[in-house]
């Protein structure tokens, strides 16, 4: 199988200029490859840099050096050096990301939050909403909440909306940052199923899971980070 993601000698240090220029080295010379159909889990203590690495893969965090080659369409794009409009296009077509917390947009109903990545691909509104509804139903978000903006939802409900949004467009690459942190056992089982289905469909996944049971259930490979 060909690699969907190949990270080469990636380094990241946060420099806190407002706090006397303190430097926080997160990782240096990191390497990682992920093939389609694989779920690689990042494992290590809190502060090891798992979220930072995922954010770098998504273009949300800018590494100091190194490359992040991502298969995109017929070619590859280096997320670490690509201009913003290219990163946006890679996100639209190739890269999905479930962040730790949903960033709710005022006034946008849950159903549209989930359907949006499909709409951005040009999928007609009815089809996109049907897929969104299917995912929300599987994740046990009661239908009466679908037309409400998620800002007022509980933490667990927001996280499930976030997960549904991440899986909606069936991107070839999916990044997951502790998606099951605030879920009960039944919803965790649904997430495990969704990941298994994505793997079977050839998606390349990279995830962080605080829960050993989930990690064991979904990992093709564990990538250990020391911090």
């Amino acid at each position: 199988m060909t690699d969907q993601i190949r990270v080469d000698s990636l380094s990241k240090t946060y420099v806190l200029h407002t706090q006397g220029g303190i430097e926080i080295p997160v990782f240096a010379d990191a390497a990682l490859s992920v093939a389609s159909g694989e779920c690689v889990t990042l494992h290590g203590p809190s502060g090891a840099g798992k979220s930072t690495l995922l954010r770098c893969l998504y273009g949300n965090c800018k590494p100091d050096s190194g490359a992040i080659h991502v298969s995109h369409g017929e070619g590859t794009v280096d997320i670490a050096s690509a201009p913003p409009r290219v990163v946006m296009e890679v996100r639209r077509r190739t890269l999905g990301y479930v962040s730790q917390f949903l960033r709710a947009i005022p006034r946008v109903p849950a159903l549209d939050v989930v359907a949006e990545p499909l709409r951005a691909l040009g999928v007609p509104v009815e089809t996109a909403q049907a897929r969104a509804g299917e995912l929300l139903a599987r994740l046990r978000i009661p239908e009466r909440l679908w037309s409400l903006a998620p800002a007022t939802f509980s933490g667990g409900e927001q996280q499930r909306v976030n997960i549904a949004r991440g899986f909606a467009a069936r991107h070839p690459i999916l990044l997951l940052d502790e998606p099951t942190a605030s879920l009960d056992a039944r919803n965790r089982a649904v997430v495990i199923e969704l990941i298994a289905e994505a793997k079977a469909a050839g998606t390349a996944l990279v995830g962080v899971f605080h829960d050993d049971e989930v990690r064991e259930a979904v990992s093709t490979r564990v990538h250990t980070m020391q911090g």
């Binding site: 946060y14 420099v15 806190l16 200029h17 407002t18 954010r55 273009g59 949300n60 965090c61 800018k62 913003p84 409009r85 990163v87 946006m88 947009i105 005022p106 006034r107 946008v108």
Partner: protein
């Protein structure tokens, strides 16, 4: 495909004082650029230079015209520049009174723009004005009312309708949510976000509010003392700011 705007070395001095200095960037069709920075950092000066309203001291702004491709907006003649502003561009001012005619009805404010680009059929103009008032969530019954009777939020929505009715390719906005109450802001932001996405508009939006920038802009330019100190994808600049000034801006607000 060409960039819609190609800006290079753009500088505007006010005597010895710097308005903006050495700004360069490209804006592509459908792209939304946010310009952030605190008061006095040069945002409005830059926006005025970009939108053909303030001649720069140095540098160039090329606009990709439909007929002839990229043309320097300050080198073209005044009639052509005026035509461009009517057909291709929209300008949304912070104070809606600067962008509206307060002495004519809401419908006329919208219809006038259509007439400026050649529309003549009264019924057609009125229907389109009515349609746009609805799009910006203004009750059709208010079509013959003077803007004087409108609230701040309604005035701003009317100004947006007036600008978008002619289907511009590029819209300039200076603090579009500036003078409004927070609840009114949220509604306007939601509206702007939908319109910009649905119409595939390119836009340049000046704001000092990082939450507004996050919601509307794809890319950011951070300005300080007239210069651009950091640029990048909006969420990357806000979540992983590199320049000391950007870090200060981000750390000074609650959850941008």
């Amino acid at each position: 495909m060409n960039p819609l705007l190609t800006v290079s070395g753009l500088t505007r001095m006010y005597g010895n004082r710097v308005g903006c200095r050495d700004v360069s960037f490209e804006l592509w069709p459908g792209g939304v650029m946010g310009i952030v920075g605190e008061s006095g950092s040069g945002k409005s000066t830059l926006l005025s230079c970009l939108s053909a309203r303030l001649e720069p001291t140095a540098g160039r702004v090329l606009y990709d015209t439909r007929e002839d491709g990229p043309v320097d907006i300050y080198a073209m003649g005044e009639p052509r520049r005026r035509m461009l502003m009517r057909t291709d561009w929209g300008i949304v001012h912070q104070n809606p009174r600067d962008g509206l005619r307060m002495g004519v009805s809401a419908g006329a404010n919208v219809g006038e723009r259509l007439m400026a680009v050649g529309a003549r059929h009264y019924g057609e103009i009125r229907a389109q004005a009515d349609d746009w008032l609805r799009k910006v969530e203004i009750d059709g019954e208010r079509i013959d009312d003077l803007p004087l009777t409108f609230s701040g939020g309604m005035l701003q929505r009317l100004q947006i309708a007036r600008n978008l009715v002619t289907h511009p390719r590029l819209v300039f906005m200076d603090e579009p949510t500036g003078g409004l109450d927070v609840s009114v802001q949220a509604r306007l932001l939601d509206l702007l976000r939908r319109l910009v996405t649905d119409l595939g508009l390119a836009a340049i939006i000046v704001t000092h509010d990082l939450a507004v920038a996050r919601l509307l802009a794809h890319r950011l330019m951070v300005m300080r003392r007239g210069e651009v100190v950091e640029t990048g994808l909006t969420d990357q600049v806000l979540d992983d700011p590199h320049h000391p000034y950007t870090q200060l801006l981000v750390s000074s607000v609650l959850q941008p």
